[in-house]
Amino acid sequence: MMLELRDVSVARGGVPVLDGVGLVLGPGEAMVLRGPNGSGKTTLLRAVSGLQPVLAGEVSGAERVAYSGHADGLKANLSVAENLAFWAAAFGTRGIEAAMEAYALAPLSDRWAGNLSAGQKRRLGLARMLVTGRPVWVLDEPTVSLDAASVALFAAAVRGHLGAGGAALIATHIDLGLSEARVLDVAAHRAMAPLPGSDEAFL
């Protein structure tokens, strides 16, 4: 078991958005989060990664998570290779060639990250996951701005990761071509009743 959520509730801006979310991801498993805009996917993923506390319930495995959000965390003034090398060092791994390869970044390697097109930036952001060395990938709308070829690269990278015993939790609105992934619709967990939130005392 790589990641487990037991009866998790999360809030954003003081408002509970999701309630009673439970899921288990074993090695080699992927799960896709679905749900309309504003339903709380981003919030859940941030909580899973330990960036924000959960209101209730438990997350185990947060320390195994590599997170990738709506923003890519790129430095406009570093080259593509430098950006990737930094994250490799920060996560204590080495070797960025495989990651550059996987997302066809080699031709861009000397370009400054700030001078990439939207989709190229995204590819670089995704390549970062490969150098973290973390077994659980948590991805928030990873394929935004990607063309079909890049989506295929992404699907291949995820498959490779799963094949190597990793796990992935992916929020998305579009089809990723990952037929083996289970689907969790967060709309079913929409928080209705007042929860023991941070402002519970005031209700």
Partner: protein, 218 residues
């Protein structure tokens, strides 16, 4: 950790020459002072150590502005917080990088600018020494302020408001040491107190800053 230091140094050097900008600001403020207060040598000499300290402090403050803000905006800070680096270390390293790129050049340049303000002869060494001891405190205190205001739009000025009162003791002892040095008086006490502030700030503030950052990232 080392990678982070390298990255920050490299970014500072690259980003439109962020490296030299604190220095340039310092230079320009020093140059503007005679325009503002008038060119009389005696008057300038008497205020020179203080103005140089104040200029260094402001240059430090301004360049500190976006120490965490840029990383927050482009999402790096989220990722750093999930990386296997202790956040206290991240804060300390970032303050260190800031000191290397801003504090150190300021220290080196201050004596040269002293000439412009007719700083009296013995003052040069003590100005240099007091800045060398005091600027690290400016960097860590500033990092604390930057952590408090990360994620706030227009955080820059609010940060100044929060940080400047915290700079008061450092400024007083630093400028006092430089002034006494320039006037040939004993400088040991203020220098030692300045050292104490620097050491204390270096030892404790990174923890406060990391706690603050964790809250801001939520």
């Amino acid at each position: 950790m080392r990678a982070l230091l390298w990255r920050d140094l490299r970014l500072a050097v690259r980003a439109g020459g962020g490296f030299g900008l604190g220095l340039a600001f310092f230079l320009i403020v020093t140059v503007l002072v005679p325009f503002a207060v008038g060119p009389q040598t005696g008057r300038l000499a008497s205020i020179a150590p203080g103005i140089l300290w104040l200029g260094a402090l402001l240059a430090c403050l301004l360049s500190l502005d976006r120490i965490f803000a840029l990383d927050f905006e482009d999402g790096s800070l989220d990722l750093l917080a999930t990386a296997p680096l202790p956040l206290e270390g991240v804060v300390a390293v970032k303050a260190l990088a800031h000191w290397f790129t801003t504090g150190l050049p300021l220290v080196a340049a201050a004596p040269a600018l002293g000439v412009l303000l007719s700083l009296p002869g013995p003052g040069f060494f003590w100005l240099f020494l007091s800045l060398l001891i005091g600027t690290p405190a400016l960097s860590v205190i500033g990092a604390f302020g930057a952590a408090l205001t990360v994620g706030l739009k227009r955080g820059g000025l609010l940060m100044s408001l929060l940080v400047l009162p915290l700079y008061v003791p450092t400024l007083i002892f630093g400028a006092e040491a430089a002034r006494r040095g320039a006037e040939g008086l004993a400088v040991e006490t203020p220098l030692m107190l300045l050292g104490g502030i620097s050491a204390g700030a270096l030892a404790l503030l990174p923890f406060a800053s990391a706690a603050v950052l964790r809250v801001s990232l939520r």
